[in-house]
């Protein structure tokens, strides 16, 4: 016969303050656990969303990022005219030769220097990256010193408004538009005409090149041909998605690694908290347990009842923690992306997977914390328990 849930529920309720304290401990741990996973997930999402399916990025071999990559004009024009590259209605290839550098601007709130990525693009770049849309102003005019800035740059950096001018590369550049990349890392970039940026930054070569494939199956053929051609053998082709995935690797591994070490240590604290509570519960209710046993409940029923009690508390704690963590999705943070050494804005992103693993994590804490006390409760001798005061 099982011990009714209502008994367990009332036992939890009687010791409200202790229950709340235990629950709070578990909630805090689950909060940190979920927040860390959300942060890593948010970062990955931002960078992975930056890549589009069917897009290929061309970098110099062994260059891990665009900052350090170089591609000369000859190679770029060879790659552009390959038959696998998709074409626009007017016959131009959907490919953008780009220059990618980093400049310093002052942040609005702290007056600190921040590193910003500046990307010089070809006119075809907008077709290439469909997620990028202008939200204010207009597109820059090719051949002029006009630029457009990403929405999160506009938000966080001084003088990044339409009509204002930025000074870099030995010249003044007028902001004529603000664009959004729908949460991708383009939000943290400044775009302008590549042919204007190259002389301004003293770059005779491009940094990278991105192109759209006619069909995704062509990737292997194109890659083999380009990388085998002696004129272009110094480059490497990568799926754009894969490239951005690699960019997020170091950072999200760091966040996850540090976060998991911290949560494991934390969870020991919370488990001990739960254990203390459950041991006290067992000690306080010795007579009750004796009565239950005398009424005919089995050892395993008592064990189950105390375990369920502990799991109940931890599930509530887990839910509270997840609820708390979900509030974090309103928080946006920006930090340096060590891959490119430039600012990157991203948020905490909650996913069903994270909710599930947080809940499982809290249940595990409840089981571990409640098991030993529950065993003690189930081992009590009936006669002695009834006699206890």
């Amino acid at each position: 016969m099982k011990i009714p849930i209502s008994y367990i529920w009332r036992s939890v309720w009687v010791r409200r303050l202790t229950t709340v304290l235990t629950l709070g401990g578990i909630a805090l741990v689950v909060f940190v656990f979920a927040a860390v996973l959300m942060l890593a997930h948010g970062l990955e999402k931002t960078l992975v969303d930056t890549g589009s399916d069917g897009n290929v990025i061309v970098l110099r071999r062994s260059a891990t990022t665009e900052v350090v990559s170089q591609i000369d004009r000859d190679a770029a024009s060879i790659i552009k005219v390959q038959p696998e590259v998709a074409l626009l209605p007017d016959g131009k290839p959907v490919a953008s030769t780009e220059v990618y550098v980093i400049i310093n601007l002052l942040k609005k709130e702290s007056n600190d220097m921040g590193n910003i990525s500046v990307r010089g693009i070809s006119p075809e770049a907008m077709q290439l990256r469909q997620q990028v849309k202008l939200i204010d102003g207009r597109m820059f005019q090719p051949g002029t010193h006009e630029i457009i800035v990403g929405s999160s740059i506009a938000k966080r950096f001084q003088d990044c408004e339409i009509g204002k001018q930025l000074r870099f590369g030995g010249d003044l550049w007028t902001i004529v538009g603000i664009f959004t990349g729908e949460g991708s890392s383009f939000d943290s970039e400044v775009w302008g005409d590549v042919e204007q940026f190259m002389p301004a930054f003293g770059r005779p070569v491009f940094s990278s090149m991105t192109l759209r494939l006619r069909s995704a199956n062509d990737f292997k053929t194109l890659k083999e041909r380009i990388e085998g051609d002696p004129r272009t053998q110094y480059v490497e082709l990568k799926h754009e998605k894969q490239y951005y995935q690699e960019q997020s690797q170091l950072m999200s591994d760091f966040i996850k690694g540090l976060g998991l070490i911290v949560t494991i240590i934390f969870s020991v604290g919370a488990i001990i908290g739960a254990m203390i509570t459950m041991y006290a519960a067992v000690a306080n209710r010795t007579v009750e347990i004796g009565t239950l046993r005398a009424l005919g409940f089995r050892r395993r029923n008592v064990l189950g009842a105390f375990l369920i009690e502990s799991i109940l508390v931890s599930v509530f704690g887990g839910c509270a923690g997840i609820a708390l963590a979900s509030l974090m999705s309103f928080v946006n943070i920006s930090t340096i992306n060590w891959g490119t050494f430039s600012e990157l804005a991203f948020g905490f992103a909650l996913s069903p997977g994270i909710m599930l693993s947080s809940l499982i994590f809290s249940i595990v804490m409840g089981i571990v914390g409640g098991f030993l006390p529950a065993v003690r409760a189930s081992r009590l001798n009936i006669v002695n328990a009834l006699r206890a005061s």
Partner: protein
């Protein structure tokens, strides 16, 4: 005196509970100390910067180079006693996906750089050997330990900023003067880089990443910075000159969001310490409602009750804190040994110890507040009537 004995007896009454509480607190204090150590490790570069050194870099960003010709112009400025220069090399050693293979590779001027950084200790012979060979390099002791480099080894690097294959021969291993010195760098001759670039990519030679200036009088720094920056204001590469401290600080502030989140986490740890401790104290006070009522009936003052509950709380908090601190040192040392180059400098600072102790003490006080108030508020009659 008897009060202390009573506190001790009370604490030992539930041995298991007290033990668990102390273990819980000690783990949390240890975690707190560890987090603070990670935070201070981030600032190690800032702390280690010398008061008389300044850095001049390109005004737009440090990724843009400066011409070598600036060196002589800077050296002529009054107040500047020495100028050296360095260049970030980048590149990939073996497999880039393993962070263990990442270490800073910096091209330096072999004649002046080591003079500028007296905290890098190299034997005279090794320095001479380093200066003699064009493709020689110096390796930090921690880096040598992590990747098992020995004098005479050849380090192959795949260039990215400077494309192509590169090979450097280890000619010496430098040690730090004190614990705060970065021992994870690879320093090689800038001239080697320059000569190679001249052949591989003509037009990129004669460029350095940044200049290091030694000033005679630290109070002249702001004037020197202004003179240098004004001097190159209208040239192709305008400069930004700042103290070494500010230069290092700008790298730290790039990851300020991460540091902030670690600070937040360290405060959450305090919250957990508090919850574990408060739970135990609340529980004990509740069980002893009748005893405290008896004490009150016997004429013990509120002061005694505060002492009893607070004392027990403090005893638990302080033993937990002491145990946690005792655990912190071997753990921090173990981390530094397993990952010698993850943070160039990883030491438990005095401030970390002070903060950990303060955390334990403050938690001890706060945890006792609520149950104490509760006990004092309970009428003696009700207390005597209470059943555990």
């Amino acid at each position: 005196m008897h009060v202390f004995k009573l506190i001790l007896k009370n604490t030992l009454r539930h041995k298991l509970r007290s033990f668990l509480t102390i273990v819980g607190i000690s783990i949390a204090v240890m975690a707190f100390g560890f987090m603070r150590t990670v935070i201070t490790a981030w600032y190690a570069g800032v702390e280690a910067s010398a008061v008389n050194r300044m850095v001049t870099r390109h005004s737009v960003s440090f990724i843009f180079p400066l011409p070598l010709s600036y060196r002589d112009q800077i050296a002529r400025i009054p107040g500047v006693s020495q100028v050296s220069y360095a260049n970030w090399f980048g590149g990939v050693y073996k497999d880039a996906s393993d962070w263990k293979n990442f270490f800073p590779r910096i091209g330096i001027d072999p004649e002046t750089y080591i003079d500028m950084y007296p905290e890098f200790l190299v034997t005279v012979d090794e320095l001479a050997a380093f200066q003699k060979d064009r493709n020689a390099c110096l390796i930090g002791a921690k880096l040598a330990q992590q990747l098992n480099f020995k004098v005479g080894d050849i380090i192959p690097i795949d260039g990215d900023i400077y494309p192509g294959k590169w090979e450097f021969v280890v000619r010496g291993i430098y040690h730090g003067k004190d614990k705060s010195t970065d021992e994870t760098q690879m320093l090689f001759q800038w001239k080697y880089l320059d000569e190679q670039v001249k052949q591989r990519q003509p037009g990129r030679e004669g460029q350095v990443g940044w200049y290091i200036l030694k000033v005679q009088n630290p109070s002249d720094m702001s004037i020197v910075a202004k003179i240098v920056d004004d001097m190159f204001k209208n040239s192709l590469a305008a400069t930004k000159t700042e103290t070494e401290k500010e230069f290092q600080q700008s790298f730290v502030s790039m990851s300020s969001a991460i540091i902030t989140s670690m600070k937040v986490i360290s405060f959450v740890i305090i919250g957990i310490i508090l919850l574990v401790l408060a739970n135990t104290i609340v529980m004990s006070a509740r069980e002893r409602t009748r005893e405290y009522a008896v004490l009150k009936a016997l004429g013990f003052s509120a002061f005694h009750i505060i002492g009893l509950i607070g004392g027990e709380s403090m005893l638990l908090a302080c033993s937990g804190g002491a145990l946690g601190l005792a655990l912190l040192f071997p753990i921090a040392r173990g981390f530094a040994n397993v990952f010698p180059t993850f943070f160039p400098v990883f030491n438990v600072e005095i401030i970390t110890i002070a903060l950990s102790v303060a955390t334990a003490v403050v938690s001890g006080i706060i945890a006792a507040v609520f149950p104490t108030i509760n006990t004092l508020r309970t009428k003696t009659v009700d207390g005597l009537r209470a059943i555990g």
